[in-house]
Structures are given as structure tokens and as C-alpha cells.
């Protein structure tokens, strides 16, 4: 187990360095310098600004400086369009994205599990087909179509939820549902196949034989092993959640990190673009490590293998 964690950590450090290098060179490849502005400034000031941004150094010098600042000061540079550093933007806006992401995952986990378990326990009936059809619908419906349609139905026609605002729980329900829909579908499918396999195990027969109620067999004994595939999915899900948040935060005007990431695309705010990329990499690598460890604890077979 310890070896696994260590090797993952070492690999993670390399990946982050690679991503940071990539983002540095993308920054350099970006057209225009950060100092391009309509105003012309006196020569001396121009030089001073260049010095401030280290543009007077060689490419290698700039690279070393960039990496040093990132590693030792967690400093990802300064936004070109806002009077904030990239770290400030992340610190201020990422928590909102996390709230949204967690709500989406809870939505997906809850409904997906229920849907999948019900489908598995009524295998090859209409209940099964309908649930799986619904799951596939969730996977197929792009968030940027689903989101506006939900707004149209629940906000503009029924007035149940605010269309696009960020205050309180009610305003987060539609975004979380939009974001979680895909994962709900995937979770439902994974839970179904996991449950089908589990319910054939000997220990389930034992549970039945000792006279447990079917509900207890399914929801207590079956679920435990049947949901393991869902846990493995959490890693990729977190990665996809990040991308999903770009769309959902844009549609619902939630001032999360995804919203700023998208804004930095249209603003051509390259330091934010690449800085946030590095931040996401660190975040996801740590998250995946946690998922791996969690999986090891849930399934002793995996833990001993490594």
C-alpha cells in the first residue's frame, strides 16, 4: 500500500512538472505580449514593466523563474485582465466550484445507485429497460442542452428555481442536476452490472438461506460489493466534473473557477488559463491518489496485491 502511494506521488510530481512546462511554453507561444495595450508608454517605463514581468531575461531564465515561483511560492502569476493574481482567483472562486461538484456527485451517487440497484433487481423487465434508457439519456444529453431546457421548464415556466443566480441552496439545485446527470447515468450502469455480478455470489445465497429479507440482502449485503465499480469511477468522474463545471457555471452564471476559466479563454487571459490548468492537475492527482487509497481499503484483495 505504502509503495503504491509513494510511486503514485512520484509519478504525480513528474506529471505536474510536465504540465507546468507545457503551460509555460503555451504562455510563450501565445500571440501578443502581456504588455500589449492601446496606450503607448515611455521607453523607461516599458523597460521597468518588462523587468517586473521578467521579460528581459532569456527564455531559459524565465522558465526557471516561473517554475521556482510556482514550486516554492505556489505563485502562478498575475492575471492580464484583472487586478488579481491567479492564486487569488483560484482561492476566491474554487470553493464555489467544489460545492457545486459535491452536490452534483451526491445527486449522481444517490439517484444513480437507486436506479442501478432497482434495474438489477428487476433484470430484463420493463423497469430495467426504462431505468437503463433513462441512464443512457443522461449520458447522451449534453449539459449545454440540458441546462437551458431545465431553466426554461423549472425557472421560466414553473418559477420553482431561480434561473441564474448564486445564492443559497435552491439556486444550486438546477446546476447540480445538470452537472450530475451524466454521472448519474454512468453510476446507474456501473451499479447495475456490479449488482448483477454480486447477486450471483455465494455469500448472497448464504444471506438468503439464513432467511434475511430480500431488501436486506440487496441493500445491505449486495450493495457493499456491487458498488465497488462505482468507487473506481470516482477518479475519472472528478476529472470530467471539472470540464462539466465550465459549461454549467457558464450557463447558470455561477462565479466558480470554471466560470473564470471560460472567461479567460474569451479574454485571452493566458496566465489564468495556464495557471488554472496547473492547479487542476495538482488537484486531480491528489484526488485520484485518495480514490486509490480508498479503493484499497474497500477491497482487501487489491490492497494485498500491490
Amino acid at each position: 500500500m505504502l509503495r503504491l502511494i509513494l510511486s503514485r506521488l512520484v509519478a504525480g510530481v513528474f506529471v505536474i512538472l510536465a504540465v507546468a512546462t507545457f503551460s509555460f511554453f503555451m504562455l510563450r507561444a501565445a500571440p501578443g505580449s502581456p504588455l500589449d495595450d492601446e496606450r503607448s508608454v515611455p521607453e523607461a517605463i516599458q523597460r521597468n514593466i518588462e523587468k517586473h514581468y521578467n521579460l528581459d531575461k532569456s527564455l531559459w531564465g524565465q522558465y526557471v523563474h516561473y517554475m521556482k515561483r510556482m514550486v516554492f511560492h505556489a505563485d502562478l502569476g498575475h492575471s492580464m485582465k484583472r487586478s488579481q493574481t491567479v492564486s487569488e482567483i483560484i482561492r476566491e472562486n474554487f470553493p464555489k466550484s467544489v460545492i457545486l461538484g459535491v452536490m452534483a456527485l451526491v445527486f449522481a451517487g444517490l439517484f444513480g445507485t437507486v436506479l442501478g440497484v432497482i434495474a438489477a433487481s428487476k433484470q430484463n423487465t420493463w423497469t430495467d429497460h426504462t431505468s437503463m434508457g433513462f441512464a443512457l439519456f443522461g449520458i447522451s444529453m449534453p449539459a449545454f442542452v440540458l441546462g437551458p431546457i431545465l431553466i426554461m421548464i423549472f425557472s421560466l415556466s414553473l418559477h420553482w428555481f431561480p434561473p441564474a443566480r448564486f445564492d443559497g441552496f435552491a439556486s444550486m439545485i438546477l446546476p447540480a442536476a445538470t452537472l450530475g446527470m451524466i454521472y448519474m447515468g454512468v453510476v446507474a450502469r456501473l451499479a447495475r452490472s456490479g449488482m448483477l455480478e454480486t447477486m450471483r455470489q455465494d455469500y448472497i445465497r448464504t444471506a438468503r438461506a439464513k432467511g434475511l429479507s430480500e431488501r436486506k440482502v440487496v441493500w445491505k449485503h449486495g450493495l457493499r460489493l456491487g458498488l465497488l465499480p462505482v468507487v473506481t469511477y470516482l477518479g475519472p468522474a472528478a476529472a470530467a466534473l471539472v470540464t462539466g463545471s465550465f459549461v454549467v457555471e457558464k450557463i447558470f452564471q455561477i462565479p466558480g473557477l470554471g466560470f473564470y476559466f471560460v472567461a479567460s479563454i474569451t479574454d485571452r487571459d493566458y496566465p489564468v488559463l495556464t495557471g488554472v490548468l496547473v492547479f487542476y492537475s495538482v488537484f486531480l492527482i491528489l484526488l485520484n491518489l485518495i480514490v486509490d487509497i480508498m479503493y484499497g481499503y474497500l477491497d482487501p484483495r487489491i490492497r494485498d496485491q500491490r
Binding site: 509519478a11 506529471v15 507545457f22 503551460s23 503555451m26 504562455l27 507561444a29 501565445a30 500571440p31 433484470q123 443512457l136 439519456f137 449520458i139 447522451s140 444529453m141 449534453p142 449545454f144 442542452v145 441546462g147 437551458p148 431546457i149 431553466i151 426554461m152 421560466l156 450502469r189 447495475r192 452490472s193 448483477l196 465499480p229 473506481t232 477518479g235 475519472p236 472528478a238 476529472a239 470530467a240 471539472v242 470540464t243 465550465f246 459549461v247 450557463i251 471560460v262 479563454i265 474569451t266 485571452r268 493566458y270 488559463l273 495556464t274 490548468l277 487542476y280 492537475s281 486531480l284 492527482i285 485520484n288
Partner: protein, 308 residues
């Protein structure tokens, strides 16, 4: 991880060298199973209709109805669906149906080209890793594992927004370049179970070079799962294209794609809902149909992977 190990066993079927007829009957068998899956057949039909709609539709619209996806009629403006414009018109008076058809053409072409790119990279990567084995395999697959946990599309976003060219070819290549991981895993699993077979030994004895063994003898035997995952990757690639277009990084105006159409629609949803609902619905249906077809193909071609 689970997929790789599960599919390993399924390769037992394609390669039964003793009786050449068996490999034929695999396809016939798969076809029979697919036909029995009524939903999959219907979904295949739906996709065929969407293809005809997207590729032949614009021609018919132009020849018989004089409709053109780029011709603007500002005087007309946005109109709700009617007999002369079945799916309405957008703010600039362009016929929505023709625009959706043309958008579909782009979406389908992107999906196919990017899937082919993913196919070539994924199959080569997976096959090489499995065939080489040992250290090479470990390094190559660790790379895949690491990339798997990443929102790879973010790289595409950064590259597309930083580089000034917004060429479609670059878009195809980049989307393909991030979509091959699954394919590599599947192929690796297949090749691992195939590489110690007698027919591979026989080829090696005859002096066939490694690449020859790999691509002439082993890869063709992995075709079943590869077809399945190629089918399943088409809808996800379509989503990626639409997603990039939604962010303004994919297909550029005046060329329409489903992504750009939906993006336009989102801004006008309260006033002209049909501008969103038309393209959104057709795109959703297409992706749904392709996913369903992919599932059906998996059940048919890869019985061991069946969801029961």
C-alpha cells in the same frame, strides 16, 4: 482496469485456427445477435436517417425548396416553425433545418475523423505495449493511467485558445489525440491474451518480423472489441466537438456545427426557444442512438462483456 481484464477472455473466440469457418460464423453470429436486439437496430436506423438528413438533406433543400443555410433574411428574422421553415428560422432569418443539417455534417465528419485518429494511435499504443511486455508495457500503460485521470480536453482548450489558427484539421487531430486511451487499454488486454497463441508462434517461426506479427496477425483478431469501442467513442467525440464549439474554440462561424447552433440557442432561449430545441434535440437523439448502438454491438460482438 476491470474492463481490460474482463475482455481478455473474450478473445478466445475469434482465433480458432483449426477451423477457419469458425471466424466467419463469429460475425454471422454477432449479426444475428445484433438483429435480435430491437432497440439497437432501431437506433442504427436512426443514425442512418441522421446521416442522410445531414449529407443529402442540404442538397434537397437547396434544389427543391431554394433554402440555403447561409443566406440571411434580416427582414424575416426569427420565426417559429412553420410550413415553409419546418424548424423555424434564426435571428438572421436563416432556415434552422438547413443549418442543423449542415451542422450535422460537420459534427459527423469531425466524429469520424477524430475517431479514426484515436483508433490508429490507440491500437498501435495498446498493441505495442502488450506485445513488448515488461518495462515498456509498464511505462506505456502508466502513462495511459495518468492521462486517464485528467480532463484532457483542457489541454485542447489551452492549445486551441493560445494558437491563433482555428483550423478544422487541428481540431480533428487534437480531439483524436485525447480520445485514444480507452482504445489502448482494450487492445492491450486483447493482445495480451493473443500473443502466446500457436498461430503467433507459427508466424514467428516463419520469420515474420514483429511489426508484421503485430499488425497482420494479432491486431485483426482484436477487431470485435475495437469496433465496439470505436462506435462508443463517436458520440463522446461529438460531445467534445460541441463542447469546444460552445466555448467558442471549435468550429468557427459562418460554418455551423451542432455545438455552435446550441450556443446560439442558449442565449436566445427565453425568446426563441426553437433555436435551441431543434439542434439540441437532434444532437441528443443522435448521441443517444449511437450509444445504444454501441451497447448493442458490444453485446453482440463481445458476449463476455455483456451486461447480462
Amino acid at each position: 482496469m476491470t474492463t481490460a481484464t474482463q475482455t481478455q477472455g473474450s478473445a478466445t473466440e475469434p482465433a480458432q485456427p483449426a477451423r477457419p469457418t469458425v471466424s466467419q460464423s463469429l460475425w454471422a453470429d454477432a449479426w444475428r445477435r445484433l438483429k435480435k436486439n430491437r432497440m439497437a437496430v432501431i437506433c442504427g436506423g436512426i443514425f442512418a436517417v441522421v446521416c442522410v438528413f445531414s449529407f443529402i438533406g442540404p442538397l434537397i433543400a437547396e434544389w427543391f425548396f431554394g433554402l440555403d443555410g447561409t443566406k440571411q433574411r434580416i427582414d424575416l428574422g426569427a420565426t417559429a416553425p412553420s410550413w415553409s421553415h419546418w424548424m423555424g428560422t434564426d435571428v438572421l432569418g436563416r432556415d434552422m433545418m438547413v443549418r442543423i443539417m449542415e451542422g450535422g455534417r460537420i459534427a459527423i465528419i469531425v466524429a469520424f475523423v477524430a475517431t479514426v485518429v484515436a483508433l490508429v494511435v490507440g491500437v498501435s499504443w495498446g498493441a505495442t505495449a502488450a506485445y513488448m511486455g515488461g518495462r515498456v508495457d509498464e511505462v506505456m500503460m502508466r502513462f495511459v493511467d495518468t492521462m486517464y485521470a485528467f480532463p484532457r480536453i483542457v489541454f485542447v482548450i489551452v492549445i486551441m485558445s493560445v494558437l491563433e489558427t482555428k483550423s478544422l484539421v487541428l481540431l480533428f487531430a487534437l480531439i483524436g489525440a485525447i480520445s485514444w486511451l480507452n482504445m489502448a487499454r482494450i487492445v492491450r488486454g486483447q493482445v495480451l491474451s493473443l500473443r502466446n497463441r500457436e498461430f503467433v508462434d507459427a508466424a514467428r517461426c516463419l520469420g515474420v518480423p514483429t511489426t508484421g506479427i503485430l499488425f497482420r496477425h494479432i491486431v485483426p483478431n482484436t477487431l470485435g472489441p475495437v469496433i465496439v469501442y470505436a462506435t462508443l467513442s463517436i458520440p463522446s467525440v461529438m460531445l467534445s466537438e460541441a463542447f469546444l464549439s460552445f466555448l467558442g474554440l471549435g468550429v468557427q462561424a459562418p460554418t455551423a456545427s451542432w455545438g455552435t447552433l446550441v450556443t446560439e440557442g442558449v442565449t436566445q432561449i427565453a425568446v426563441y426557444p426553437w433555436v435551441l430545441i431543434g439542434p439540441g434535440l437532434i444532437m441528443g437523439i443522435t448521441i443517444f442512438a449511437l450509444n445504444f448502438l454501441g451497447d448493442g454491438l458490444r453485446d453482440a460482438l463481445d458476449p463476455q462483456m455483456r451486461k447480462d
